[in-house]
């Protein structure tokens, strides 16, 4: 039985995408056809506008015909025909829809909602599937941090936009009551899990569109460690369930594929050591940290097999976090020397050929002291695209390390609360689909 739905009455009206618009295939942001002198004859498409245009007609153009140019092929806008206008006349009133779309597509996702109130035309444009897809193709308005918290009653979800330096509290009352734990976020989708009575369940949602769907149940009903990965190219996602949270017994690894909408069962992880909850996914491989002694296990999605990676972990490492970087990079982040005066936070990168952790950075002492006032304080660490984020709940601060630029910086304007203990990077996108 598949549960899915759309937000309840009051929230459904504007936050859902209107289903009446036709999906426009041609909205891929291909390089706009600006032809230079060498272009062959026929109609010359000279306008940057028109990427949003309809499928087979020549791309639309604002009708300001230059004198001396050939008669343009009859270009029509996808929605309405504009009478010829001189550019000075009443620009605003006759603002072509294409130009408006180009402007609105560049407005950050969270600001779009407010603009729906401007007038009916804008409300309609800003909910149109075609526009939302176009909007999602504009380079990312991230990164953002998403925090999720649920007491027994209401779920709370807040998103901090790093570029805008602003918090937004996103309504998530549409989520099923059992959704307690934040699994993670990827490609605009957010995955949560929880116990519905005695059944362990998972749910996928897009907070921006308020669409959500409960995934089918796993074969083995236990509370499991999960990780979600999105493949933006084929618009699919997978969820991997590894160890039992209570680590009593070793369970077969299960993989959910959105293309088949099924969980498949794979190799049991060799019961080597105790499993930690620290996992990272990169280059179609899942890495998992095992404890006592510290070790690294790797699961290959293509073969469905586990492998032990004989990389020796740094001595006296505490709270080691695995963080996936871009392409095939894998980082290890953790504290060294907890009870010594030379305690520090370090970052290592895995050398995949030699299976060695190579130290690449150390948190400067002033950041370390400011982040963790008490030496044994807890912190969270997660990453995306070569950005590693450290959060300290007691200090209410967030620290970023940019691996490429080798730069440390505080996240400005981001006051974290103690209850924001479930946090991850998030990329707000209208076009992420839950199927």
């Amino acid at each position: 039985m598949i549960e899915m739905g759309e937000a309840s009455e009051t929230e459904s009206r504007t936050l859902l995408m209107s289903s009446s618009s036709v999906e426009e295939e041609s909205l891929r942001r291909s390089p706009s056809p600006i032809f230079g002198r060498g272009s062959c004859g026929g109609s010359r498409n000279t306008s940057p506008l028109g990427r949003m245009g309809s499928r087979n007609t020549s791309p639309s153009r604002i009708k300001t015909k230059p004198r001396g140019l050939d008669e343009e092929t009859a270009a029509t806008f996808s929605k309405f025909v504009q009478p010829d206008i001189r550019m000075e006349d009443n620009i605003w009133a006759m603002l072509p829809e294409d130009l408006l779309n180009e402007i609105l597509a560049r407005v950050p996702p969270f600001m779009i909602f407010r603009l729906r109130s401007v007038c009916k035309r804008w409300n309609s444009i800003l909910q149109d599937n075609g526009f939302l897809k176009f909007h999602s193709q504009v380079p990312s308005h991230g990164p953002c941090l998403l925090t999720y918290w649920k007491n027994s009653q209401t779920p709370q979800c807040s998103v901090f936009s790093l570029p805008l330096k602003q918090w937004f509290r996103i309504p998530v009352t549409f989520l099923p009551r059992w959704a307690f734990w934040l699994v993670g976020s990827s490609g605009g989708l957010v995955c949560l899990s929880g116990m519905d009575g005695l059944t362990f369940k998972t749910v996928i949602c897009n907070p921006l569109t308020q669409k959500w769907r409960t995934l089918p149940s796993l074969h083995y009903n236990q509370q499991r460690q999960l990780i979600m990965v999105v493949n933006r190219k084929d618009r699919s996602f997978k969820v991997i369930a590894t160890s039992d949270v209570f680590s009593d017994k070793s369970l077969p690894t299960e993989v959910y594929d959105s293309k088949s909408n099924k969980w498949s069962v794979h190799e049991r992880m060799p019961a080597v050591n105790l499993c930690s909850s620290k996992m990272a996914f990169c280059d179609s491989r899942l890495y998992l940290e095992t404890l006592s002694p510290l070790g690294l296990m790797m699961y290959r999605l293509d073969t469905g097999q586990w492998e032990h990676i004989p990389a020796k972990f740094p001595r006296s490492l505490l709270d080691g976090y695995l963080v996936a970087g871009s392409k095939k990079r894998l980082f290890l982040v953790g504290r060294i020397g907890l009870y010594s005066t030379h305690q520090s936070m370090k970052i290592w990168e895995l050398d995949h050929s030699k299976y060695v952790w190579v130290e690449i950075s150390r948190m400067p002492p002033r950041y370390f002291r400011a982040l963790l006032r008490l030496s044994a304080e807890r912190f969270e660490c997660f990453g995306q695209d070569n950005l590693i984020c450290f959060t300290s709940w007691n200090q209410g601060k967030g620290l970023l390390y940019d691996v490429d630029k080798k730069a440390w910086s505080w996240i400005a304007g981001c006051a974290l609360q103690a209850y924001n203990s479930q946090v991850c990077f998030y990329e707000p996108r209208f076009d992420s689909v839950i199927y």
Partner: protein
């Protein structure tokens, strides 16, 4: 071909003298061919001019001052150093270029860039306009875009209520700087 020093540019183009564009208000502006290549419209107009054998290309839909600014920006783009600018530096460059512009002027500029077929500049003008409106209130947007509010008060209230989370943290800056 294009180098960062304009002197060398001139030397290279002694064989290709600069083109002359004439604006709607009769202003004549020079632009090197290699710079003009960014504009598909100018290239098209050039074809026609070469047929009719005159020296000056009329760009009769664009006024002189806007055309001058556009040419300036196009010149910047052909400088080699420009292509090596990182994302942040490019953003700063355009922020500086558009600093203190009124939104109507940015729109006009964007329309001109569109008319002349200069993709990059058109994108940047749209980005600037998006930046200018994103933190403004709904009332400001209506005023500047001269849009009539066709919602009934009840409809508007409902809409606001559904999206009220987007209205929180109302640090809207309706300063008149952009109008």
């Amino acid at each position: 071909m294009a180098t960062s020093s304009s002197n060398t540019n001139k030397a290279d183009h002694s064989k290709n003298p600069p083109l002359t564009l004439r604006s709607s208000d009769g202003k004549e502006l020079k632009i090197f061919r290699i710079v003009a290549q960014q504009s598909s419209t100018i290239m098209n107009l050039l074809d026609l001019e070469e047929e009719s054998n005159t020296d000056v290309i009329p760009v009769s839909e664009v006024d002189g001052s806007t055309l001058e600014k556009l040419i300036e920006l196009m010149n910047n783009h052909t400088e080699k150093s420009f292509n090596y600018l990182g994302v942040k530096e490019r953003k700063k460059f355009y922020n500086d270029f558009f600093a203190n512009w009124k939104i109507l002027d940015v729109l006009n500029f964007g329309l001109v860039a569109n008319y002349l077929g200069v993709q990059v500049i058109f994108d940047e003008a749209c980005q600037k306009m998006a930046d200018m409106i994103k933190s403004k209130s709904v009332e400001w947007v209506r005023k500047v875009f001269e849009i009539k509010n066709d919602f009934t008060p009840e409809e508007e209230e409902d809409l606001k209520k559904e999206n009220k989370w987007a209205y929180e943290r109302g640090d809207l800056d309706d300063g008149d700087d952009a109008i």
